[in-house]
Structures are given as structure tokens and as C-alpha cells.
């Protein structure tokens, strides 16, 4: 794993650059992505890139392919029967769909947080420790304890759960569970975090906490978030991409998309005329 991108290194080096324009070198570069479910084509040749240390929001009406597209980035579509992905997805110049790339290793570098919080039915500690254990990141108990604490601190959950690490992860509230899932993703030291509507099952207070957290995580990771809430996209992202019917309609700086969209369809969608 690239040691430059271990979270502790990133934190000190990139803190000042966090609010710099997200024109940094693209972390992930997608070229002409097409996704098919059996005979139906879900995504029609999308090309876009995701800059490092910035949040990119994917918006669009239901069924527009934004989740499908997100799942291409860590090859989660592999687990779906009949699903076929065409095109190139370059990460650090390497095609992640190449046969030489093991999806298991890819997913340890590209973490994912799902729509519904899905902690394992194990203790809070084991939820975090599972990833480092299977990847052999931590060898000793002390290392593991340190990773668990650091991940929970990063996810802003440490103060709430430090006294009950052995309690089941499922005993937490929905918002806490989602932060636990984020901590779980962070624990394997990813470089990219994909979030598939992470707040859609949460109340506004928990949503606000997650959004704060995303803003915090932006300093260290490349984050791609799918959201239905345009306000959320406007609040947390630096760049926004608008999908419609499997096509990338428009992509640009978030501010520009929301204030001055180039496309008519984008304008209609963000002003609530359809979707």
C-alpha cells in the first residue's frame, strides 16, 4: 500500500491544501464506462475523473445509474449476476478491471459505505478490527487497539463508545451505526471512500453529523458520494456530477452546477422540475 496515503501522513502534509481548489491530480480516471445488466444497458459511456482530497457528489433521479457507476469503482458489480462493465477505470494509472488486479485488494484501497448502516452483528471493537485482521495490517493486540481507537476517533464516534467497545454494533443508534461503518471502512486505510446515499436512512441531526464528518474526512481521502438530496450535495461536495438515464449530463464545480448549470436538464432537475 502506498505509504503516502496512510491517513496519518496525509493529515499533516495536506491540511493546508484541504480547501485548495480541487484541481489536484485525479485519483481515479474513468474512460467511457458502459455497464450492462444482461441485455439492458444501465450506463452509456461515462467519462469522468475524481480528484484526490475532495468530495465529488453524484446526483440524479432514481434509476439514473449513479449507484451502479459508484459500484464500478470498487468492483462491487462483480458480485451481481449478469452485470458487465466495459471501459477503463484508472487508479494511479492502473486499470482496476485488469485481470491482474485482485478485487479483494482493490476494495481494501477503495472503501465503501452503504445506504443502510450495516454493521456486522459483532461487537463494536470487532466491527472495526475485522478488516485490519483479515488484511494483516495489525499483528499485535496493541496495534489493533490503536487502529480501532484511531478509526473511531476519525469517525467521531470514540467519545460515545469508548466505554462499551464490546457492546454489539447493532445496539447503536442509526447515525452511530453509520459512523461505525465509516470507521470500519477507514480502519483498512483506504485511499478512496465511496458513499452510497449514506444519510438516506438517518434523521436530520445524524445527517448533519455525518456531513461534518465527510467534510473532515475530505482532508485525507478522495470521497465519492451518491445522494438524492441536492442540499446535501451542495453542502458537502466540491464537485458535482449530474446523471440522467445512464448518461453523465454535466460535471463541474459544485457552485457552478447549482448556480449556473450549462445544461437545461441539470437546471430542471436542481430546480425541482423533474426527478
Amino acid at each position: 500500500m502506498d505509504s503516502d496515503h496512510t491517513p496519518q501522513a496525509a493529515g499533516s502534509v495536506l491540511a493546508p491544501a484541504a480547501d485548495a481548489p480541487p484541481a489536484a491530480a485525479p485519483r481515479i480516471d474513468c474512460r467511457d464506462i458502459k455497464v450492462f445488466y444482461g441485455a439492458t444497458q444501465a450506463i452509456h459511456g461515462v467519462s469522468m475523473s475524481f480528484p484526490d482530497r475532495a468530495v465529488t457528489a453524484l446526483i440524479g433521479p432514481s434509476g439514473c445509474g449513479k449507484s451502479t457507476f459508484l459500484r464500478c469503482l470498487n468492483r462491487m458489480n462483480d458480485t451481481i449476476e449478469n452485470c458487465r462493465v466495459e471501459g477503463q477505470i484508472l487508479m494511479d494509472g492502473q486499470d482496476i478491471n485488469d485481470h491482474s488486479i485482485d478485487p479483494v485488494l482493490l476494495r481494501s484501497r477503495v472503501g465503501m459505505v452503504f445506504q443502510k448502516p450495516n454493521p456486522f452483528p459483532k461487537s463494536i471493537y470487532d466491527n472495526i478490527a475485522y478488516g485490519p485482521r483479515i488484511h494483516g495490517i495489525a499483528t499485535s493486540r496493541e496495534d489493533l487497539d490503536a487502529i480501532v481507537e484511531k478509526s473511531l476517533r476519525r469517525a467521531g464516534l470514540w467519545e460515545e463508545v469508548k466505554d462499551r467497545l464490546q457492546a454489539p454494533g447493532t445496539s447503536l443508534s442509526g447515525g452511530q451505526q453509520q459512523r461505525l461503518c465509516i470507521a470500519r471502512a477507514i480502519a483498512v486505510r483506504p485511499e478512496v471512500i465511496l458513499m452510497d446515499e449514506p444519510c438516506s436512512a438517518l434523521d436530520p441531526v445524524a445527517t448533519a453529523r455525518i456531513e461534518e464528518l465527510i467534510d473532515e474526512l475530505r482532508k485525507r481521502y478522495c470521497i465519492v458520494i451518491v445522494t438524492h438530496s441536492m442540499q446535501q450535495a451542495a453542502r458537502v461536495s466540491q464537485r458535482t456530477a449530474f446523471f440522467h438515464l445512464g448518461n453523465l449530463v454535466e460535471m463541474g464545480e459544485t457552485e457552478q452546477i447549482f448556480t449556473n448549470p450549462r445544461e437545461k436538464r441539470t437546471e430542471d432537475y436542481i430546480t425541482g422540475r423533474f426527478g
Binding site: M76, T79, L105, M112, K116, N118, Y130, H135
Partner: protein, 525 residues
């Protein structure tokens, strides 16, 4: 019709519709209650009918014999080793019979009586005592108390299940006079009126007492009555002394069935009452039902060999069916591609679960025994046959349990870089474990109660010894029940019920285990 909302609630049509809907609800509730009531009453009926039979087999009568272990009989010259003693069942049996002959001198008068008295105890009944003495040969020459089960017919008679009889008490018998023809004249003011009344009643009920017996018992003495009149009757003394009847009210028994058609004779009944009066017959719990093996004598028979046979069979079934079933289910559910081939396999697994069990027996006989040359009647073959029958059930239950694990758990594990195998075995299988276990144990419970396929591979043979390995000749509990139920003697009937209760208890235990395991696992959040 000014306010549409209000009117739609109160129009006659709407009210009528509402009434019909409510009636349908109520009707459905009663249908449900009725169905539950029917199911429950069937269960209660089953438990009552089997239970009431089984209760009588839960106890039995044993006879005590105080005998001296005569070395001349127990250790005749040349047969003095412990093995010889253990084998010398006849010697012990003769001592017990001689003890009875001593107790009842009248039994010695002719051969028929000697046979009747010898029927009190079966030869094999003394085997435990013989083994006990063989283990401690210094007991030879000393007096011991031998306790052995009473003959099953007499046991059943004492429990009131062998013969229909009417019991009553006579009035006081005041005079007893022995007569030259061997009979005795009993006299008493109106002493026999109750018997005459009972005879009239029986006649009215259409029961003929012409060839039946009227027995009266006082103390240890029992006799047969003839020529009954209100104040006098002639007594044919069967056992005991005439003095016992003087100044007593005797217990009378009216047995309509002719002696020739019965399994117990009047003489045997008389001796039984005498032994009981002496306190030598006692009713004790029948632990031998669980500690003895099968026997041709119901009073000696037990289910130990069948229990152990069932245990071995289930062991083989479990070792084969559960791992294969679970692995097949995990592969089909988690790894296999969904295509025509796997669809075909799935359909056929479901078909396999629906194949009648006797077909598996034929298959077992043809393949395991004839082709592979495995031993007949062995739990190994029985277990393999039952495994064929059980593993589709395990596969179906396990697949259902795996399917019920939320996909979010799988994607959660995959998304942090767990391999598919790690995902399945670290997350999915542990969550599905309670369901898999339930399926496995229920499948085993079904196999435990299976009879038909085992008949075909020869597990129905009479097995007197407890099997010590899965390749020994053996039988299993349901087959033992089948065998016992086919036996002619009346005493087998309660024995069969008792064995059914034992089998049901084992099944209940297994089902209880399912519930317990499920609770235990579910508590792990």
C-alpha cells in the same frame, strides 16, 4: 348528500358492506380456532391413548424367591468356573421352581400342576442373578434372595388387563366342613347372595358363566366355588387351608371366560394371590425397559439394544448428512453460478426430499449391501440410507437459512476487502447457523423415526445383544416398535406403547435441543 365524506360512511350500502366484511373477519377467526382445536385434540388423543397403555408397562410385578444356592445344582462337578455359573441358568431356574413347589405342596401332585407352577418364571429371568453369582462365586452355598419378573400373563392379570372379571365380596362364611370327595361345604347366612345377584346381572347382560370360574379368596387361600346357593356352596380348594375361610368374608371373582381359553389358569391365579398375600409379589418400576435388550419374553424385553442401535445409526447419519448438506447448501447459495445446471440440481434436490423413504431402503439394499458388500442389519448401512434421506432436508433448510441472511452483511464484508470465502464463513454462515442447526436436527429427528427403509436392509432381525460398533447387527427404536407391535401376546401391547413413549421422549429432547440452540445463538445479537 351534502357532505360526501359523511354520507359514504353511513349509506345503507356501505353499512351492509362493512357488516359483511366484519362477518368474514369473525368467520375466519373461528375457522382458525377450529383448526387449532382439531389439531390439539388429535394430539391429546394420541398422547392419552399411548400414554394410558404405556403407564401400565412402566411398572411390573416381580416375585421374590428366598433360596439357598445349592452347590450341587449351581456348581456341579466339572462346571465350577464363573463362566459355567453364569451359563448355568437352568440350575438357578430349578432352584426357584423348587422353591415354589415347596411353597405350594399341592403343585407336586401331577405333571400338569408342576408345569403350571414352573410357568411363573421364565428361565432367562434368572440370568442377572446367575451373572451376579458368577461375579462373586463365594455366594454359592449361601442363602440369597432371587428376584425375577413374574410371567407376563400373570403380570397382566394382576394389572387387571388380561381377563374381564367381576369382583365382589361374599357375606360372612360361618362354617367350613371338609367332605370326602375333596370338596368343602361352606355355609353362612346369605353369604353367597351377592354372587347369585351378580350371576343374574351377568345373565341379563348376555354373559354366560356356564363354563366360567367363580374364585373366592380369603387370606392366602383360594378356591373355586360350585353349586352356589344363598347360604351354601361347595368349595374346591386350590391353595391354602380351609381354615382361612372360616368366619371371614371372602373376595369373589367371577371370570366368564372358560379356563381352557385363557392364558392363566385358576390354579395359577390362586397361587399368585397366595404369593401376593405372602408379600412375595411386588409391583416395581420397569427399568428393564431401558436396561434390557430385546427378548422373546415380554417381561424380560427392553429397548437398550435398539436405543444404542439408533444412536449408532444417527451418528453415521449425522456424520454423513450434515457436513454434505451444509457444504452443498453453502456452495449452491453463495458460490454457484445461477444457470440451467444449478436450477436442474436444485429441482432434483427438492425431488430427492420428496422420494418415499422405502425407495431409499431398496437403494441401500442394492448398492450398499449387494454391490459394496457392507454388512446386513448394521447401523452403518442404516445410517447411510437415512443420510441419503436426510441430506436433501438439510440442504433445503440450510439454503433457506443462508438466503435469510441480509445481503447487506455480505456487501459490508466484501466492501472492506474480505474474500468471498471470508465473507461466507466469517459472516454469513455464523448468522445462518441457528437455521442450519434447526434444519439438521429436524432432519435427524425425522430419520430417527424412520422404519420402512431399515426393514429392507435387514435391521428388523431379532437382536439380543447390545451392538458395540456401527458394523454390529442391530435394530433401531421404530423398528423395535414395529416388531413388538406384530407380536401376538397381549403383554406386548403396553410394551409397544411404552417404547413409543421412549421414542417420543427422545424426539422431544431433540426438538428441545433445537429450541435451546436457537435461543442461545440468537442471544449473541
Amino acid at each position: 348528500m351534502t357532505d360526501p365524506a359523511a354520507s359514504s360512511f353511513s349509506t345503507p350500502e356501505a353499512l351492509k358492506r362493512l357488516k359483511r366484511r366484519r362477518a368474514a373477519d369473525v368467520r375466519f377467526r373461528y375457522y382458525g380456532l377450529g383448526a387449532i382445536f382439531l389439531a390439539l385434540s388429535a394430539l391429546v388423543l394420541l398422547v392419552l391413548s399411548i400414554g394410558s397403555q404405556a403407564v401400565s408397562a412402566a411398572t411390573y410385578h416381580v416375585v421374590r424367591y428366598d433360596i439357598t444356592l445349592d452347590p450341587a445344582v449351581i456348581t456341579p462337578p466339572g462346571e465350577t468356573t464363573p463362566e459355567d455359573i453364569a451359563r448355568n441358568v437352568d440350575g438357578f431356574w430349578e432352584l426357584a421352581r423348587d422353591n415354589l413347589l415347596e411353597t405350594f405342596p399341592e403343585a407336586n401332585r401331577d405333571r400338569a400342576s408342576r408345569i403350571e407352577v414352573s410357568e411363573f418364571i421364565t428361565r432367562l429371568a434368572v440370568l442377572p442373578t446367575a451373572r451376579k453369582v458368577a461375579a462373586r462365586p463365594e455366594m454359592v452355598g449361601n442363602p440369597i434372595t432371587l428376584t425375577a419378573p413374574l410371567n407376563d400373563d400373570l403380570d397382566l392379570y394382576l394389572k387387571g388387563q388380561a381377563l374381564p372379571e367381576r369382583r365382589l365380596r361374599t357375606g360372612t362364611i360361618t362354617a367350613v366342613t371338609a367332605q370326602e370327595d375333596g370338596f368343602a361345604l361352606l355355609e353362612g347366612q346369605g353369604a353367597f347372595t351377592p354372587i347369585l345377584t351378580a350371576l343374574t346381572t351377568l345373565q341379563a347382560e348376555g354373559v354366560s358363566m356356564d363354563e366360567g370360574s367363580i374364585l373366592i379368596t380369603a387370606g392366602g387361600a383360594t378356591g373355586r366355588l360350585h353349586g352356589i346357593q344363598a347360604g351354601t356352596a361347595r368349595l374346591e380348594l386350590l391353595t391354602g387351608t380351609l381354615d382361612a375361610f372360616r368366619n371371614s368374608t371372602a373376595a369373589a371373582r367371577l371370570i366368564a371366560l372358560p379356563e381352557a381359553q385363557r392364558v392363566v389358569s385358576d390354579q395359577q391365579i390362586a397361587w399368585t394371590f397366595a404369593l401376593k398375600e405372602m408379600g412375595r409379589i411386588s409391583r416395581v418400576p420397569r427399568w428393564t425397559l431401558l436396561t434390557n435388550s430385546d427378548s422373546t419374553y415380554p417381561e424380560l424385553a427392553g429397548g437398550l439394544a435398539a436405543l444404542v442401535g439408533s444412536l449408532f445409526t444417527m451418528l453415521v447419519t449425522a456424520l454423513v448428512a450434515i457436513p454434505i448438506g451444509i457444504l452443498a447448501a453453502v456452495y449452491l447459495e453463495e458460490f454457484a453460478p445461477k444457470n440451467r445446471l444449478t436450477d436442474f440440481i436444485e429441482v432434483n434436490i427438492n425431488n430427492l426430499a420428496a422420494v418415499p423413504s422405502i425407495v431409499f431402503g431398496l437403494l441401500g439394499a442394492a448398492v450398499y449391501i449387494n454391490f459394496l458388500g457392507m454388512p446386513r442389519s448394521a447401523p452403518l448401512v442404516g445410517g447411510l440410507v437415512l443420510a441419503l434421506m436426510t441430506f436433501p432436508v438439510v440442504i433445503i433448510a440450510s439454503r433457506a437459512a443462508l438466503k435469510a441472511v441480509p445481503p447487506s452483511v455480505r456487501s459490508g464484508a466484501l466492501a472492506i476487502g474480505a474474500s468471498q470465502m471470508q465473507t461466507v464463513f466469517h459472516h454469513v454462515v455464523p448468522l445462518a447457523a441457528p437455521g442450519i442447526l434447526t434444519g439438521a436436527i429436524l432432519g435427524m429427528a425425522r430419520a430417527l423415526g424412520e422404519t420402512a427403509p431399515l426393514l429392507l436392509i435387514g435391521m428388523v432381525a431379532f437382536v439380543g445383544d447390545v451392538p458395540t460398533s456401527p458394523t454390529d447387527e442391530s435394530t433401531v427404536m421404530p423398528v423395535l416398535i414395529f416388531t413388538w407391535a406384530n407380536n401376538a401376546e397381549r403383554a406386548w401391547e403396553p410394551m409397544t406403547s411404552a417404547m413409543i413413549v421412549v421414542l417420543l421422549a427422545v424426539l422431544l429432547l431433540m426438538n428441545g435441543l433445537v429450541v435451546f440452540l436457537r435461543r442461545k445463538y440468537e442471544r449473541r445479537w
